[in-house]
């Protein structure tokens, strides 16, 4: 348990995502030891830590890339350890990538359309027969995609190849694509990576907007303090695979263990 106590934001009775004493070892190396934390159904939680602290490992554990050696990961009360990514997406858990991964051969519109797969009302038989059901289904999908592109100010790029967009808009598109799967928990993997400060401010507004609009939980794994401190109400700090703090941004900033982890053993430098 982190020594920095828990502030007023107590977890809801049953958190949406719960990591329960999760440990993972690679050979002799313990990458994470007995990590506990939870995310409520409409919470925005930040996960930070110095390089090599285990942030990516946590991410890979939640998204099914790794299996925990010990402990349990529960989503909506059910264990999800080791489930394939597409099964997780069907449960309502989806992610974005640190190095943006759009579908390069597809238009902006089709990038989002591909993500409606999970909830499309029509399938392969309709596609082959091309009857009423197919056209109604495609129209519904199309309307939904256009609504989302409108909401995120991407309509003017609709038919552009996704890779031709400016960096910030590519990130925005990736988030829109993730939202098209109707997630309940959105995992953002270092979304501010490679952004300048104007883009970062835009990104913070975007994340806040997504959270308020869709009322979903967001886990933000991020290097950039400005972004994490700016929008998260609760921050989990990792160092060497151990949770060293879990508190509000203001408390984390003052926490001596956090300062030590980031700056070494001379905490006097930072106020």
């Amino acid at each position: 348990m982190g020594p920095a106590g828990f502030d007023g934001h107590e977890l809801m009775s049953a958190p949406l995502l719960q990591l329960d004493r999760v440990t993972i070892r690679f050979g002799g190396l313990t990458a994470l030891s007995a990590l506990d934390f939870g995310i409520g159904a409409d919470e925005l939680v930040g996960l930070i830590g110095p390089n090599g602290a285990g942030k990516t490992t946590v991410f890979n554990l939640i998204t099914g890339v790794y299996q925990p050696t010990e402990g349990n990961i529960r989503f909506d009360g059910k264990s999800i350890a080791g489930l394939k990514p597409h099964r997780l997406a069907a449960l309502g858990l989806t992610r974005t990538f640190q190095n943006i991964r759009l579908f390069p051969s597809m238009s902006v519109f089709d990038n989002v359309r591909a993500a409606v797969q999970l909830h499309r009302p029509h399938g392969i038989r309709n596609a082959l027969w091309r009857g009423r059901g197919f056209h109604d289904g495609e129209n519904a999908v199309s309307a939904l995609v256009m609504e989302m592109l409108d909401m995120f100010r991407l309509t003017r790029f609709r038919d552009e190849p996704s890779k031709s967009l400016p960096y910030g808009d590519q990130r925005r598109l990736e988030i829109v694509r993730a939202l098209a799967t109707r997630p309940r928990l959105l995992l953002l993997d270092e979304p501010a990576a490679g952004m300048n400060s104007t883009e970062k401010v835009e990104l913070m507004k975007l994340i806040q907007f997504v959270k308020d609009k869709y009322k979903i939980a967001v886990l933000l794994v991020e290097h950039d303090m400005q972004v994490v401190m700016g929008i998260c109400r609760r921050i989990v700090v990792l160092d060497y695979g151990v949770k060293i703090a879990e508190a509000t941004p203001a408390e984390v900033r003052k926490d001596p263990k956090v300062i030590e982890a980031y700056l070494g053993e001379e905490p006097t430098i930072q106020k």
Partner: protein, 335 residues
């Protein structure tokens, strides 16, 4: 572009194939022969394009599926027919029997596709190419060793049921199935799998399933094409379905442009016509002013394979994205 009214277009294509099938007797047999081979190659190339182009899984085993379909259909019409069909059955019976033989060929090839695809589609890129290559070799070896099917000599005396109707109708149906399937929200799954498997899985696309569906459907049509080929050439042997045949189909897909169905259709037609064109060219000679002896182009006849390879190399250097890919969907260079 093939998509404005897919069902109307399919209807029109089927009507044309019925018309051509009915007046086949009056056409020059040489053109019928060329047109038949074009139709079979379109079926093969468009179905392989679903696997290699749209879904981005590099398969080198298409001739193997063709062999499975060809032998199955030939078996149905040669060995099973006498048990079920009366000796002088009406023509409609024979037609229905041929249809059943073709479908059987397709289904068995599709099952072979499932058998090969389910374990190997977990592999990526080069590994899949090697597995499918191995599959093609194995199929050839298996048929070479089945004595009832003629062994290395193959089967001959297959009834010549294939005509322009069957060939063109199959090609039209293949094009219809591939384009309608890909051009739908469902079909974006294939393209997403092609573009980025990790991202596709993260938004809920079951990429393994997508790949298997593409593989099985592609194998099905390759099997039907194999059945058509057997009942057209009236003889099949394992050598006719070797690695070179697979490569020929892959070349059609690459020349047409991966994932570009219209381009692949054109390429299949063009590459079938190319050897014919070169053969015709070899019959000519060019008068040379300083010599009484005209320059004979006879050498083209012998060096056709060489010219063919040189054309392909030139094409890859000048238009690596495919001859008919005008910047619509990206080339294969994605990562």
């Amino acid at each position: 572009m093939l998509l404005a009214r897919p069902r109307t277009l399919l209807g029109a294509a089927l009507a044309v194939s019925v018309a051509l099938g009915l007046c086949q007797q009056r056409l020059d047999p040489y053109y019928v022969d060329v047109l038949t081979r074009i139709g079979i190659n379109i079926t093969l190339a468009v179905s392989l394009n679903l696997i290699n182009g749209h879904t981005g899984q590099f398969s080198l085993g298409h001739a193997g599926f063709m062999a499975v379909g060809g032998y199955t259909a030939a078996t149905v019409s040669m060995f099973a027919a006498p048990h079920f069909l009366p000796a002088n059955a009406p023509a409609a019976f024979t037609l229905a029997w041929f249809l059943a033989a073709l479908v059987a060929g397709g289904l068995v090839a599709g099952a072979a596709g499932l058998l090969v695809g389910a374990p190997s589609l977990r592999l990526k890129g080069d590994y899949l190419a090697i597995v499918t290559l191995g599959f093609g070799q194995i199929i050839a070896v298996i048929f070479r060793n089945i004595e009832p099917l003629g062994g290395a000599l193959g089967l001959s005396g297959i009834p010549a049921y294939t005509n322009l109707f069957w060939v063109l109708a199959t090609a039209a149906l293949t094009v219809y199935v591939v384009t309608t399937m890909v051009n739908s929200t469902y079909g974006r799954g294939f393209l997403a799998t092609h573009d980025d498997e990790v991202a596709a899985a993260a938004i809920g696309i079951n990429t393994t399933r997508c790949k298997i569906v593409a593989f099985v459907i592609g194998a099905f049509f390759a099997g039907v094409a194999g059945g058509l080929y057997g009942h057209f050439s009236m003889t099949i042997n394992p050598k006719g379905f070797d690695f070179n045949r697979s490569i020929e189909i892959v070349v059609m897909v690459i020349v047409g442009g991966m994932g570009n169905t219209a381009g692949v259709i054109l390429a299949a037609a063009l590459l079938t016509l190319l050897p014919e064109g070169l053969r015709t060219l070899a019959g000519y000679s060019i008068p040379v002013p300083w010599s009484a002896q005209p320059w004979s182009l006879n050498w083209i006849g012998e060096s056709r394979p060489l010219l063919y390879s040189m054309l392909l190399i030139g094409l890859m250097l000048l238009r690596p994205q495919g001859l008919f890919n005008w910047g619509r969907r990206g080339s294969t260079a994605t990562s």
